[in-house]
Structure formats: structure tokens, C-alpha cells
């Protein structure tokens, strides 16, 4: 009940930060109409209920209420009150969405709806020993300076049923809606629904944004199998938290495959449109977590993604993946050190004219947080290659990449990273040596990261 008056409140966000005075948002939530209708109906319900007039306690003065004349009168009053209680509880179950009366709503308070806003800037200087082959859309992609992205994260509870999340990315090419979805907060039975545009639950890293990554660039397998922007699309998702004693969550999403950026193993080229449910991309995942001790946790995901591809009518793609995340963080260590190991492996099967292509890819990384200020990490990534790849014709052989990074965090709102890689596409004569120096700045509400 406490959340409802917010629907009628007006929210004004003066400015994000003094440095960005131009971004002045005025948002008003006027969702009252539907709920007012509900309220009207419920009030009509009260009026038409046949309740004997004499048993309803009329508004009386305090003195009258305090001195009932006889035991009979008292019994009558109790009976009347019981009836009222019954009536009220029946109303509650009949019209759960009816808000508190508008007149009783408190005056708009600024904290009634706090839209969380964060701005994150990623920029890098990079050097490549020869022509770069980066796969991520926000990776530094040639020698020189790069504005990787200016990411704006927004989010807040819409009402007592939904929350809204949006990730907008400003780059030199314009503004891009990476994610914008509504999500239910508390459906019964452990279910959760999501609708809008979102990153699909394919693997572990795909669900996250670059500012949570330990490395400056995207792993090879994500860029090659899923998309330079990761796997995402417009659609719906349902997930179910099982009643098992450990965390076990099943998730299924249906999305419209959207181009090379975001579904490159599916409808990367011509969009053939949606005619049947089979033209959508489906992602199914099982995520589990095992608490091995207070200090050690293991997350394990199994995922698959299936949908049509654009190489010919009826041709389909299937991706199967598994991911492991093992984290050791001594809870009592004052240094706040942590050691995290991640593995993600994927197998892709694509029907193409004249046969079936099977590719493998994956990465593994070890990241050591020495303390809140320093972090170092090593990563190895791999994607297979063979003759006749219609997506990357030059990738006739396997590709290996080894990367190392050192990070310094002056606070948890900024970081400075130095990363070096030896990228070895076997179809090139020489390996590509890469050096990157990246900075990241965050202002605004720093949303908590998932485990």
C-alpha cells in the first residue's frame, strides 16, 4: 500500500551533475487513470453491498463510543465491526490493484520516486603491431585514442509490480539503446517476467555491460558467436527460481534476432521477418550456485540458443554453452582480496548451404583482486576456424589470444587499466601484439553488480 501514492507523484530531476547541466529531465508519472477506475469500481462495491443500516457504526463522537449503554449494544457493535472487517478483507482480495484514495495520498515527496542515474565513461589509448582484428563493438579497434562508450544506466521501480531498467550508450556514432526493459518484482511461485529489449541469458559475460568486465575488450567467442554488442534483442523472458535448497534458476527468452551486432550467428544479414514462432531466437538457461564455504562460491550455467539463420530458407543455428565461475573471497580478510576464475565454452552448429558448420570457442580467465586498489588478471581465448566460413571468410584457421591486465582503482568510481595481448589468428603470418591503456569514470548511482 505504501508504494501506491508514488503513482500520482510528479518527479523532477534537476540535473545529473553540475558537469552536465544540459541534461535536465522532467518526468511525470501519470498512471492514475487505470487505477482510479479500479478504485471507483471498488467503492461502488462498498455502496451496493447490502449491510443493515443499524449495525453500521455511524461516525460518533468519542464519548458516545466509549460508553456503550448495555452488553447487547456492545455485542451489536462487535458484530458490526466483524462484518466490516469481513467486508474489507473481501474487497482486498477482489480489487488488489486499487490504490489508496487520491485525496489521502501524501503530497509529492522527492524520495517517492528516485530515478537512479549513472554515467560511465570508458576511453582508451591503444597500439596494435599490425591491422587489428578486434571483435567487440566497444573494443579499441586501431592504434590511437578511442571513446569506447559513454554509458547511461537508468532504473527505478515503476510501481509495486514492475521495475524499469535502461542502458543507453552514447558513442561517436550516436545513441544506442543497449537495454530497455521492464521486469516484474514479485510474481508468485518464483517467476519473473521481462519485456523490452535486453541482453539474452546466453552464457555468463553476455548479461553484463563492459564497465563490469575485468578486461578492456570483449572475449573472442562472444564477439564471434554472439555479436559485437553481445547477444540481445527485443522480446520477452520468463525465469523461475526453483524451490530447491540451493540457487537453481531456469530462464527462457524469445527475442527477435537483430543484425550482425547482436545476433550474428542468426539473422546477421537480411532480416527475413517473423512469420512463425520458429523465426524467433530462443535462449534457454539453467543457472545454479553452490556455496562451498563462507569464502568459496561456485556458479554454474548451462545455456543454449536456437533460431533461424540468414544463409537460406529454413536454415537454423544452435549454440550450446556452459560457464563456470569460482570465487574465493575470504570474508574476514581486511584487505578485501578475492580470486575469481571464469570459464565459458560454446559450441555452435550452423546449417549453411551445402552442409553443417560446427565451431568451438571459449575463454578462461583468472582475476586477482589484491585489495580495493589493485587488481591483475590473465585471460586466454580461443575460437576455431576452417575453410568456408561465410561470416568471416578470412578465418580459415584457429585463433588464440592471451591477455594480461593490471588495474589501479583510486576509488570504486574510477579505474585505470593497462592491458597487453598477443593475438594469434593462425591465418595471419604474424601474431598481433596489442597494448591498451584504458580509463573509466563513473558518476551517479552506482548500481550494485551481480555475483
Amino acid at each position: 500500500m505504501q508504494t501506491r501514492p508514488r503513482l500520482f507523484s510528479l518527479l523532477t530531476i534537476k540535473s545529473l551533475d553540475e558537469q552536465y547541466p544540459m541534461i535536465d529531465l522532467q518526468l511525470s508519472f501519470r498512471l492514475g487513470a487505470i487505477f482510479s477506475l479500479g478504485l471507483l469500481l471498488s467503492q461502488t462495491g462498498i455502496a451496493s453491498e447490502p449491510v443493515p443500516q443499524d449495525t453500521i457504526p455511524a461516525p460518533t463522537t468519542g464519548a458516545e463510543t466509549a460508553t456503550p449503554k448495555s452488553a447487547d449494544q456492545l455485542a451489536n457493535r462487535v458484530k458490526a465491526l466483524e462484518e466490516m472487517v469481513e467486508l474489507m478483507s473481501s474487497l482486498q482480495s477482489a480489487a488488489p490493484a486499487a490504490p489508496a484514495p487520491v485525496a489521502a495520498a501524501p503530497a509529492a515527496r522527492p524520495e517517492a520516486s528516485n530515478l537512479d542515474i549513472a554515467l560511465i565513461l570508458d576511453a582508451a589509448a591503444a597500439w596494435f603491431s599490425q591491422e587489428a582484428l578486434q571483435t567487440g563493438a566497444h573494443d579499441p579497434s586501431d592504434t590511437g585514442f578511442h571513446l569506447q562508450q559513454l554509458e547511461m544506466c537508468l532504473g527505478e521501480n515503476v510501481d509495486h509490480l514492475f521495475e524499469l531498467k535502461a542502458n543507453l550508450v552514447f558513442s561517436t556514432f550516436g545513441v544506442e539503446v543497449e537495454e530497455a526493459y521492464g521486469r516484474t518484482l514479485s510474481l508468485p511461485g518464483g517467476f519473473q517476467l521481462k519485456a523490452g529489449q535486453f541482453l539474452t541469458p546466453m552464457g555468463r559475460l553476455n548479461l553484463t555491460h563492459p564497465h563490469t568486465w575485468s578486461f578492456v575488450d570483449q572475449p573472442l567467442v562472444n564477439g564471434t558467436f554472439l555479436g559485437s554488442e553481445g547477444s540481445r534483442g527485443s522480446g520477452v523472458e520468463v525465469s523461475w527460481l526453483s524451490p530447491l535448497p540451493w540457487f537453481a534458476d531456469i530462464v527462457l527468452s524469445a527475442t527477435e534476432a537483430a543484425g550482425e551486432c547482436c545476433a550474428r550467428s542468426f539473422m546477421s544479414g537480411d532480416d527475413l521477418g517473423i512469420r512463425t514462432p520458429l523465426d524467433l531466437v530462443y535462449t534457454l538457461g539453467l543457472r545454479q550456485f553452490f556455496e562451498l564455504s563462507d569464502d568459496v562460491g561456485l556458479a554454474w550455467g548451462l545455456t543454449t540458443q536456437q533460431g533461424p539463420n540468414s544463409t537460406g530458407n529454413g536454415n537454423r543455428t544452435e549454440i550450446y554453452g556452459t560457464d563456470l565461475y569460482l570465487r574465493w573471497r575470504p570474508a574476514a580478510a581486511t584487505s578485501r582480496m578475492a580470486l575469481s576464475w571464469t570459464f565459458e565454452g560454446m559450441m555452435r552448429r550452423r546449417q549453411i548451404p551445402g552442409g553443417l558448420r560446427v565451431d568451438l570457442g571459449g575463454y578462461t580467465q583468472l582475476v586477482w583482486n589484491l585489495n580495493p586498489s589493485w587488481e591483475m588478471g590473465a585471460r586466454y581465448g580461443y575460437v576455431s576456424g576452417s575453410e568456408g566460413d561465410d561470416l568471416i571468410p578470412e578465418a580459415t584457421e584457429d585463433r588464440h589470444r592471451v591477455s594480461g591486465q593490471v588495474t589501479y582503482r583510486p576509488s570504486h568510481f574510477s579505474r585505470l587499466r593497462l592491458q597487453g595481448s598477443r593475438d594469434q589468428p593462425l591465418y595471419r603470418d604474424e601474431p598481433i601484439w596489442v597494448g591498451m591503456l584504458a580509463v573509466e569514470f563513473l558518476v551517479g548511482a552506482h548500481g550494485a553488480h551481480s555475483y
Binding site: 508504494t3 540457487f247 574476514a332 576509488s411 552506482h446 553488480h449
Partner: protein, 315 residues
């Protein structure tokens, strides 16, 4: 069910009483299972357990030796929260880095913002430093005010009373007991607060001067009438810089400060070095009650904390 059990058990069916009551109690146990409460910190867990008695089943998401700002949002905590009737948290953004994703992922209506089992303890206390200018250039400052109010039992008492009201709302059958018990807990906390404040006031002004590591002990300083010229950390949440540590050292020397106070979850290296140089003592406060392993009460842990501090100051 509870009422029926009571009538039956006090009835005159002597020979069947024991067996029948056992059966009834077992079944009523299922019907009236203890309220499942999940708290973010062990201090809150200790308070809920003391106020709720047998009517609550409490677990804490963090340990007293753990920094409550930086708890890993493990998915296992999602499972705990999914089954909770009541979430009790500290508020003032103490848990901002890990509680929100757990709440959304647990899909439990009760513990969502504004739900029946959503209890922000900071709403019932007198918040310090709420009107302070907050900018991240000053470090990791909580704009809503200083969240470490549970170091002061006067604030703990207010939380106990508010918890009594909340529990009474969720377990109406035990309303009278819960309200009375909450008042009892709060009363003993107020008494400790008064007694200790008087004892510390007996110390000289020089003895009452301390240096704290993090800016988290403002409530203790206010309660016990201490004076704290500066913190070891120049900016809250940012590791101490050499220049600032030198300043702390000269201040400790000139003002003859003999005690550095800090919590268990902060690194002790800088404090120990400083203490060695000016022959001071480092008093390490527990981050909270040893609730999960020793069932320590909140009042016991407050007593333990101030005892160590008094010993050091009165040297």
C-alpha cells in the same frame, strides 16, 4: 490453532493430555511456524532475535568480521531472501552495493520496497551527518547520513521498539508479548547508554580524545562524549595517504592522543604503525554481535566494545 491447544491442554482429560497435546503442538507448530527474518547485519539479527524470542527464526546475511559495505551478493542469499517473511536492513545506503540485486532476484513481494516485510531500520533513528555536503571528491560518503548508528545503544533502543511494532504487525497473535519485550530490550539498552556515558564523562578531557580509522564511529563519539580531531583515512573508503598519516601522527603527538579506534574489518597496518610511533593503543571494535555462532546479544556486544575502549582511555 494456538488458542485451541491452550484450551485443550488446560482441560481435565488428564490421562490423554500429554499425548494429545504433543500431537496438537506438532500440528500447531506447522501452522504457526516462526516468522522467517533475514537481516543484513549481525547486530540487527541479534536485536530481532532478542525482541522476537521463539516467534522468529533469524539469519544474517553478513558476519561481524566482514565489512558490511562489501558483501558478495551470492545467489545463495537470493534463496534465503526468497523465503523470508521479513527483511531487516540498516539503510542509509550501507547495503547499496549488494542488497538491491538480491531483492529483485528473489521475487518475494514481502521484501520489496514498500512490501509488508520491508524494514529499513534507519527510518527510526536520529541520523547524524545527514545535512553534510556530500560529493565523491570527499570519498565514499553516504549522502543520506552516517549509517553506522548501531554503535550507539540509544539508537539500538529505538530500533528495538520499532522492530517490536513491526513484528507485532506480522505476528498479531503475539502482539502483547512482542511490544512488551521490545520495550524491555530498549529499556535495558537505554540504561547501558546512560551508565556508560556517565562513566566516560568521569574521564579527563585529555583522556577522552581519540583518533578513529574510518569515519564510522561518530555515533560512539557523540554518545560517550569523546573528541576526535581526525581520522586515519583522509577520505572515507579511500586508503590513507602518506601525507595525511603524517598529519595524524603530529596531531597525536601534539594532543597526546593515546588511542586509535577502528573496526575489525579495516586494515590495522597503518593504525598499528602509528600506535607504535606514539606509544598509543589500537582498540579494535567488533563489526557486530557474534550472533550466528555465539548467539551474542546486541547489548553484550555493545558492552564488550565500550569495555575495551574504556580500558584503553583510562590508562
Amino acid at each position: 490453532m494456538k488458542r485451541m491447544t491452550h484450551i485443550f491442554c488446560t482441560g481435565s482429560f488428564r490421562q490423554f493430555r500429554l499425548a494429545a497435546c504433543t500431537i496438537l503442538l506438532l500440528s500447531s507448530g506447522a501452522a504457526e511456524a516462526a516468522l522467517k527474518v533475514v537481516t543484513t547485519t549481525p547486530d540487527l539479527a541479534a536485536l530481532v532475535a532478542e525482541v522476537g524470542g521463539d516467534h522468529v527464526d533469524v539469519m544474517t546475511m553478513s558476519r561481524p568480521d566482514q565489512d558490511p559495505h562489501y558483501v558478495d551478493p551470492k545467489p545463495s542469499l537470493v534463496v534465503d531472501l526468497a523465503r523470508a517473511d521479513l527483511l531487516v536492513f540498516n539503510g542509509l545506503e550501507l547495503e547499496i552495493g549488494w542488497l538491491p540485486p538480491l531483492q529483485v532476484n528473489c521475487r518475494n513481494a514481502a521484501v520489496q520496497k514498500g512490501g509488508t516485510g520491508y524494514f529499513d531500520a534507519s527510518r527510526y533513528v536520529k541520523v547524524m551527518e545527514a545535512d553534510r555536503e556530500a560529493n565523491r571528491a570527499m570519498g565514499d560518503i553516504h549522502p543520506g547520513g552516517n549509517p553506522h548508528y548501531l554503535y550507539d545503544p540509544r539508537e539500538g533502543a529505538k530500533v528495538a521498539v520499532a522492530l517490536g511494532n513491526k513484528l507485532a504487525e506480522l505476528i498479531p497473535a503475539q502482539r502483547a508479548f512482542l511490544l512488551q519485550n521490545a520495550e524491555k530490550v530498549a529499556g535495558s539498552l537505554r540504561e547501558i547508554a546512560k551508565r556508560e556515558a556517565e562513566r566516560f564523562r568521569g574521564l579527563s578531557k585529555d583522556q577522552r580524545r581519540v583518533v578513529t580509522y574510518h569515519r564510522s564511529l561518530v555515533y560512539v563519539i557523540d554518545w560517550l562524549g569523546l573528541e576526535r580531531p581526525l581520522n586515519v583515512e583522509a577520505r572515507p573508503g579511500v586508503a590513507p595517504t602518506p601525507g595525511h598519516v603524517a598529519r595524524v601522527l603530529s596531531t597525536m603527538r601534539s594532543q597526546k592522543i593515546k588511542t586509535i579506534v577502528q573496526e575489525r574489518h579495516y586494515p590495522t597496518k597503518t593504525s598499528n604503525t602509528l600506535a607504535r610511533m606514539v606509544k598509543a593503543q589500537v582498540v579494535v571494535f567488533p563489526g557486530g554481535a557474534s550472533f550466528a555462532d555465539k548467539k551474542e546479544l546486541y547489548s553484550q556486544r555493545i558492552q564488550r566494545t565500550v569495555e575495551a575502549l574504556y580500558d584503553s582511555l583510562s590508562r
